[in-house]
Symmetry: none
Subunit: 184 residues, 2 copies
DNA sequence: TACGGGCGTTCGTCAAATCGAACGAGCAGA
DNA sequence: TCTGCTCGTTCGATTTGACGAACGCCCGTA
């Protein structure tokens, strides 16, 4: 898998953008980050290849997570696979998954409503790396989680776990849940 | 705001982990990334402070997004039981809002659990422009929506509407709902 | 007009990251 | 055993990123 963009220009743009958002001068940011003005000046000019520690301290000073500075601004077009919601629906008879709101290009979350009938445990494949699942049980009883770390949920319970490892769903009663899939 | 972890050791661990996942040798990875073996060896040992380009090429060679290498292993399994969790400051007595998952600065969605007692209608100010609210009712009956376009919801119902206009919440019974706030 | 202060850039120096080569270890096969 | 290969580490040489100082610039103000 190829990464989309060379980060040099991206970082320069991100620094200018985030610094403008905070509303401080280049010199002020350099002070807060503990860097030399010259270093920051070159970074914002697109010249130079900062070390991790340098960029990290800038992230801290700007109050933004690290990835904000290296990844292209609008969460690069990680296409939400059109069939992803329906595929789950198709291959298991006693699970119904409804896509409530698809994250448009550039957003990072899909919202599903999942209805499950009691039956044997269902295994789910690992999703794309970096995805996270958030789940709130609406009704019923549900045993779910990453393989080996399953948890039993009651209505109103909230569970989050990485979606990029194999995990299980097992409805102990007829259940439904809200599932928020968070992509990277 | 402070970032959680010093990235030096995190990177070393991430490199070993991801390389093991791909199943290639240190020398092979160095070859694919176009780096000297010695450089990679020191990085995996925790010594050194790689430049962005160096770490980027490793990300490409490993086929993982960049942030995978610098941020601590993001998600673990976490459960918030129906009664647990820290409640947010409620501006009205008969509403409880619980933040289940905050979008770490820069992400675009927060997940809330909202509990409402029946009472008079509650008006919400308009949020920041571009925000969208998604709501799935878990139990009870809730009448909500933008002013003038309120809809009555039953358990399992899903409603979405712009959050940047004034809107109302009115619980007809004791209710709870999952609220996903989508920003920007 | 001259002054002080902050701004962002440029230049020379130094420390450090990267490189290339050599090393010992492990392993397969003749 | 000996050969040939790959692995991962260590050690000088060199490129290069980070620093500090100086520069020109723009504003308020005396």
């Amino acid at each position: 898998m190829h990464q989309p963009a060379p980060p040099l220009a991206t970082i320069a743009a991100a620094l200018r953008r985030e610094r403008g958002r905070v509303g401080i001068s280049l010199a002020e940011l350099a002070r807060r980050a503990g860097l030399a003005k010259s270093t920051l000046s070159q970074l914002e000019a697109g010249t130079g290849n900062p070390s991790i520690e340098t960029l990290w301290s800038l992230g801290v000073a700007l109050g933004v997570p690290f990835s904000r500075l290296v990844e292209p601004p609008t969460a690069q077009v990680r296409v939400i696979r059109a069939g992803e919601g329906q595929r789950l629906e198709a291959d298991q008879a006693d699970v119904l998954v409804k896509l409530l709101a698809a994250g448009a290009q550039g957003t990072r979350r899909d919202i599903y409503l999942m209805e499950l009938e009691p039956g044997q445990a269902r295994a789910a494949e690992a999703h794309i790396p970096g995805s996270i699942e958030h789940l709130v049980l609406g009704a019923g009883r549900l045993r779910t989680g990453p393989a080996g770390e399953e948890v039993e949920l009651a209505p109103g319970d909230y569970l989050t776990f990485p979606g990029d490892v194999p995990h299980h769903y097992e409805a102990l009663e007829t259940s439904w849940a809200v599932l928020v899939m968070e992509h990277r």
